[in-house]
Symmetry: C2
Subunit: 414 residues, 2 copies
């Protein structure tokens, strides 16, 4: 089985929303060894949708569509699907009753738009959507399956998890596709490729290696295909064991993870707690850390000291330090992290101060100048300076990632 | 001219990265009135890329491809393009010299992979990429244009801005497509559709209305097409003026904006400053605010009081309050915001405490219970309770958005 995903909506084409649905669907299908051969996004135009369906079914035996099922007038997916199959519409009393019940529970009257939503292409099997008003639709014609789902992420996710994936696995037998992902930080793609070029050349044709660089990190992904999943697991594990010694200093995690999760695991395993003092990152480090469920076990909190007066009043940075060295300086980040650990009962602290940009630079401190300090309760500390570009959001994100790596290296000693 | 975007990479199909490139490209092209008819993502497979090129050129006169141009071995875009045009390769000495110069500047030796990167399809016109080693490639055959760019976002953005868009505008005359976007918060898509249904029915065929819901907000986008941009501007402005009175209470902004930007503008215009005290949002509010360039003019900072001891020590919440009412309570958020404004020299403060989930709920305070308080220096305050679902990241994001709306409503009185 090969799957093609179609996402519908003018808002995707003009970049008003980022298509995160297809990324999530790709991840989920991939976990079940289901290969995705392509993703197509089209606008709310009948003929574009029909052309996309034809293109998708050229290669794929399954097409999953999201979007264009809502109650408002810009949604035309159902018309496109009916035209594609050359069928008419029929009223689904069952769907109407379910929407009516939901609205009665909310104490709101049902609208005419919702009644119109209950007309379905004749050949659709409906999939109950417990998260919203529009049901999913399953079509099975000439050995090929089309599924249409709402574009609202949590509705689509519910349908995928409880209806679509179980039905697909039952409907099609699958070949195994397995992955191993190794997360690295500290070297670029080309350098890593040079280090491991002999290893890469030694890979058999059914195992592929991909480099996935992203802001200072590179993921290495080994993908194997085969009919015997047990054998394939074993082959991939052997390849990972052969690869690791070549890049040991760069590796921070495996599989479906990220650096904030790994920092959390390291802290938990060592029984340590963390606090942050953030100027230019503006709370982004704290946000990444607390986006992990269970982070309250190792994260105490943060002072976002955006204004200089907050650096002084809430972190005890000396006015003379700010006057002599400036807010973006080694001296300031050292006082920030020391002040933080005096006030917060954490074992490890990190402080960051920099010029995120795009404005605010000076000749000797251009935009992208970042200082950071990591310290322990016992008084030992390390500092680091970064010189980045002019893109504000990129600087904030890159700084947070580098700070996490700095913490990782610092606590390795504990 | 209609553009189709093709993004290349297995990592997109399996959801290891979200395809933000095409969203950004869609935004930029749209600003120049260039219509995007579709986006297709394919893996690193020769025949899939060629099939995607054929599909894209069915309708589009321009295809923009990103990805698959790096120096590592998984990149096959150039081969696919050469096969599509049925041409061979030629060595670009100019590109080699440029890469050599970059590596000499960095003090690093050039690699064999970089030399191989300099072989280009014979019919390519090269576009200089000042941000990386792989140049862009421009093909102009049979009245249709194909552009291939690296997938690294800042390299692609550089090429789009300085090379591709200027050349496209020169190469093709364009019809005008103009948008008006109105941002609302406080009502769902269907309710708004009911309120404005007469307005919507009165729209002429060349002006379309779309509803773009996202976590408590709904954007309304009017799109007009026409040959006379001045007339079209005027028509759209008239439609906006007719629409506004119907939804005035819900509107918080226009055009390319978001609620954190509008909160910033409101604060600036009223000469007010803000600080935040965050528990369950974990710094996300501070991050959104400081992601706006110039936010230091109105944002003082934040206390991320993730642990209860930080709520007491850094915000002065009473131990008895926590014991009697719990950390997630009206009493606690009131003390948090009052403690914040005693310590931070801000005019307005907001505090948030809740159970983001997915675990940590109790029978009387289930996951998704959120309290917030907004207050001014003068002592007046308001509180609000939300009851949300179980998805941690959704709860964090939704809470931050609702808190911004709460601030917006609070400072409207000043």
């Amino acid at each position: 089985m090969e799957v093609h995903i179609i996402t519908v909506g003018d808002e995707i084409l003009i970049g008003q929303i980022v298509d995160t649905n297809s990324a999530w669907m790709g991840q989920e299908l991939n976990k079940h060894g289901i290969r995705i051969s392509g993703i197509t996004s089209v606008g709310d135009e009948l003929e574009d949708m029909i052309a996309a369906l034809r293109f998708a079914f050229q290669k794929a035996s399954v097409v999953l569509m999201t979007g264009g099922l809502g109650p408002t007038k810009d949604d035309v997916t159902k018309k496109a699907v009916a035209a594609f199959y050359n069928v008419g519409f029929t009223f689904s009393q069952e769907t109407y009753d379910r929407i009516l019940e939901m609205f009665q529970k909310w104490g709101r009257p049902i609208t005419e738009a919702h009644r119109l939503q209950c007309f379905m292409p004749e050949n659709a099997t409906l999939l109950v959507n417990k998260m919203g008003t529009a049901p999913g639709m399953w079509f099975d014609e000439q050995g090929k399956v089309l599924v249409s789902m709402p574009g609202v992420p949590y509705e689509m996710k519910y349908l995928m998890e409880y209806e679509v994936i179980p039905k697909l696995i039952q409907r099609f037998p699958t070949q195994s596709i397995l992955h191993r992902t190794i997360h690295t930080i500290g070297e670029g793609e080309s350098r890593i490729a040079e280090r491991i070029s002999e290893f890469e050349d030694s890979l058999p044709p059914h195992i592929k290696l991909a480099y996935l660089p992203n802001l200072g990190r590179v993921r290495l992904r080994l993908t194997g295909k085969g009919n015997d999943p047990t054998l394939l697991e074993q082959e991939l594990d052997e390849k990972v064991q052969a690869l690791l010694p070549l890049i040991q200093d760069l590796v921070f995690g495996f599989g479906d993870t990220n650096i904030e999760t790994e920092i959390g695991n390291l802290l938990k395993n060592k029984g340590l707690t963390l606090a942050t003092a953030e100027s230019c990152t503006g709370g982004y480090m704290a946000h990444l850390i607390t986006s992990i469920s269970g982070s309250s076990a190792y994260f105490k909190g943060s002072v976002v000291a955006y204004a200089n007066e907050i650096k002084m009043q809430q972190l005890g940075v000396q006015a003379t330090t700010l006057a002599q060295h400036g807010a973006v300086s080694e001296a300031t980040v050292i006082e920030m992290v020391q002040g933080l650990l005096e006030r917060f009962p954490a074992d490890v602290g990190i402080s960051v101060s920099g010029i995120a940009g795009p404005t605010g630079g000076t000749p000797d401190k251009p935009v992208g100048t970042i200082w950071m300090a990591v310290a322990s309760r016992h008084g030992d500390y390390r500092t680091q300076k970064l010189q980045l570009g002019k893109d504000r959001l990129r600087n904030i994100e890159y700084t947070a990632i580098q700070a996490f790596n700095f913490i990782r290296q610092f606590i390795a000693q504990f």
